[in-house]
């Protein structure tokens, strides 16, 4: 009882990094630990044995952690067994593996909120729901920003302001982590005693954030694009970019933390008794994405490029959120460096 009271009073503690690492390692019995491995913008969320393998100073990853570990790139959703008695459908088991995502940046945490709207909204996806419930998210405030980050313009970073929807928030204060508990289960799980933060610590956190905000390179007007997009859907910048630079390779969509489109298709084996119904990430940049009976409603490359740019920077009517979280991945992993914010700026002119 005493312990609970202590934690109810202090949902924020400062603890030394070694202690925190020790606590994380203790989670290994019940959870798969997944953290950022590698440097700079080419890090990768992978299963780790301890925080020693992780690099919490990473800047970005190619695949976003939320999408990669909650909405699998490729998964079996139904299995059909055909036999003399007919066809029987069998649902694969709901995933029960518990996992911790450690060091999820603010933008990527917001992207999970976006995916929640898609997969836990009007329709509940049982696979996503199970993974989401079994995933403990430890978010991390950024220490640096990259040239391509623009979360500060979207309101999704670099410091995470959301108060729920994830479990824990870390801020690197030098030798210590400021740990803020954001979910009931984190309050039950986090049993490390630390120093309660004082006014000076909060001030230090604010100062770090202010400093970080000043280091952003990108600047464009993210609001008011709707009118521009609606009035000039055939703007020449879309045509020029599509013709000269867009490869329709779909890298932008694949690495986007909020892009949720997927294709469903069947894999039949030659014994003709087992048919696997698969779900795979799909992309609006692919020519066949818009191929329907009777034709293709985005057969032109510029129409597909426009779809991506507008969906990311506008379309708030869909879920009440912008499609972008400002992570900059689509720009970084585009082989020709197409920048949706530059397209938007050009259209605003």
């Amino acid at each position: 009882m005493t312990g609970e009271n202590v934690f109810q009073k202090n949902y924020e503690v400062l603890i030394c990094k070694e202690l925190f690492a020790g606590w994380v390692e203790g989670l290994r019995d019940d959870f798969k630990l997944i953290g950022p491995v590698g440097d700079g913008v080419n890090a990768e969320f992978r299963e780790i044995a301890s925080l020693k393998e992780a690099n919490l100073d990473y800047q970005s990853t190619m695949l976003p952690p939320g999408k990669a570990y909650l909405f699998k790139p490729l998964e079996e959703i139904v299995l059909f067994n055909a036999g003399p008695g007919g066809v029987a459908a069998e649902e694969p088991p709901i995933p029960v593996q518990k996992q911790v995502l450690i060091g999820v940046h603010a933008c990527d945490t917001h992207a999970v909120f976006y995916l929640d709207k898609v997969f836990l909204g009007a329709f509940t996806d049982p696979f996503y729901k199970a993974r989401r419930e079994n995933t403990f998210i430890i978010s991390l405030n950024c220490k640096t920003v990259t040239d391509l980050c623009f979360c500060h313009l979207i309101g999704t970073g670099p410091y995470l302001k959301a108060q729920s929807g994830y479990d824990m928030l870390l801020t690197d204060m030098g030798g210590e982590f400021l740990v803020e508990l954001k979910s009931e289960r984190s309050k039950n799980l986090f049993n490390v005693k630390g120093r309660p933060p004082e006014a000076g610590d909060w001030q230090k956190k604010d100062e770090m954030e202010t400093r970080l905000l000043k280091s952003f390179k990108k600047d464009f007007k993210a609001d008011g694009l709707r009118q521009v997009f609606l009035s000039r859907p055939g703007h020449p910048v879309l045509k020029e970019t599509a013709e000269e630079r867009c490869l329709s390779c779909a890298n932008c969509v694949m690495v986007c933390p909020t892009c949720f489109c997927h294709d469903v298709y069947d894999e039949t084996d030659l014994s003709l008794t087992r048919i696997k119904r698969m779900r795979r990430w799909d992309a609006c940049q692919d020519y066949f994405f818009a191929q329907v009976h009777g034709g293709n409603f985005r057969s032109e490359r510029q129409a597909r490029l426009r779809q991506f740019v507008f969906h990311k920077l506008d379309y708030e009517g869909q879920f009440g959120l912008k499609g972008t979280v400002g992570c900059g991945r689509c720009i970084r992993w585009c082989p020709t460096g197409i920048d949706l914010t530059e397209i938007a700026e050009e259209m605003m002119k």
């Binding site: 013709e243 329709s248 890298n251 069947d266 039949t268 066949f288």
Partner: protein, 255 residues
């Protein structure tokens, strides 16, 4: 949906080859995971690599044809195969894009003939390489050099089920991202052909840190000009760029 049920006769399959390395036929004969099921479900009426018996006359429920057309007699044979087959799939890059045999596409035929057949092998003449679709209507393309087991299997199953086969039409990049490969083009600056290449291989080369060399051929609406521009920025010479694009797509790039 009507499909061949166990009581029906087995669908008759013919496998034919024109100018190529026979790698696609080998891939089919080497169907590790499903050889037994394949033989249970299909009657290989003609498949020279697997059996010297059998007749090429048909009729066939499914004709699989590999290789590019580079000799006049092949055109006559191809038309005959088409006439005798309910479904005809082009198999492998040579049959679909021209592949390796089409590398000579940019060179005058006489020059090729003198170079290749200078020992005066009688009866061998060179013809500008072309693909099956230039002469007959094809019902589908099983891409690859050689195609993967999955796509060959899908092609055969589609005949049993009387449905359109599900082949990937997107880029290799999609497969790389699904596998989680860090992009070799963006992160390492390798001249990867992935962004313009049709998927289906499972991003084999990039998975081993090698640049894709487009053996599956260009995907539909591939923006080759944009990728060439990127290669120039990476410091490749015009000749190097030309070679990368003409290795499997010479008919497209040397028009």
């Amino acid at each position: 949906m009507r499909f061949f049920s166990p009581g029906d006769r087995k669908p008759r399959v013919g496998f034919f080859k024109f100018s190529c390395c026979t790698g696609c036929g080998f891939q089919l004969a080497y169907f590790q995971k499903s050889l037994e099921d394949t033989l249970k479900s299909f009657d290989f009426t003609f498949f020279r690599l697997a059996s010297s018996s059998g007749t090429p006359e048909g009729p066939f429920d499914l004709a699989l044809v590999e290789g590019a057309v580079t000799e006049p007699y092949q055109i006559i044979e191809l038309k005959k195969i088409r006439a005798n087959s309910a479904v005809l799939y082009a198999v492998g890059s040579c049959a679909i894009t021209g592949g390796i045999p089409a590398i000579k596409a940019g060179v005058p035929e006489m020059e090729v003939q003198n170079k290749a057949y200078r020992t005066k092998l009688y009866g061998l003449t060179s013809l500008r390489p072309s693909v099956l679709g230039d002469y007959v209507e094809i019902d589908g393309s099983v891409r690859g050099c050689p195609p993967g087991e999955r796509d060959l299997q899908e092609a055969m199953v589609s005949v049993l089920f009387h449905r359109k086969p599900e082949f990937a039409g997107y880029s290799v990049c999609v497969e790389c991202k699904i596998k989680g490969n860090i992009c070799v083009l963006v992160a390492e600056g390798l001249p990867c052909m992935g962004p313009v290449t049709n998927a289906g291989c499972g991003a084999l080369c990039p998975s081993y840190h090698r640049a894709c060399y487009s053996c599956f051929g260009l995907m539909g609406q591939a923006n080759t000009a944009a990728l060439k521009g990127k290669f120039r920025k990476l410091g490749l010479t015009e000749d190097e760029i030309e070679r990368r694009f003409s290795l499997f797509d010479a008919l497209e790039t040397k028009k």
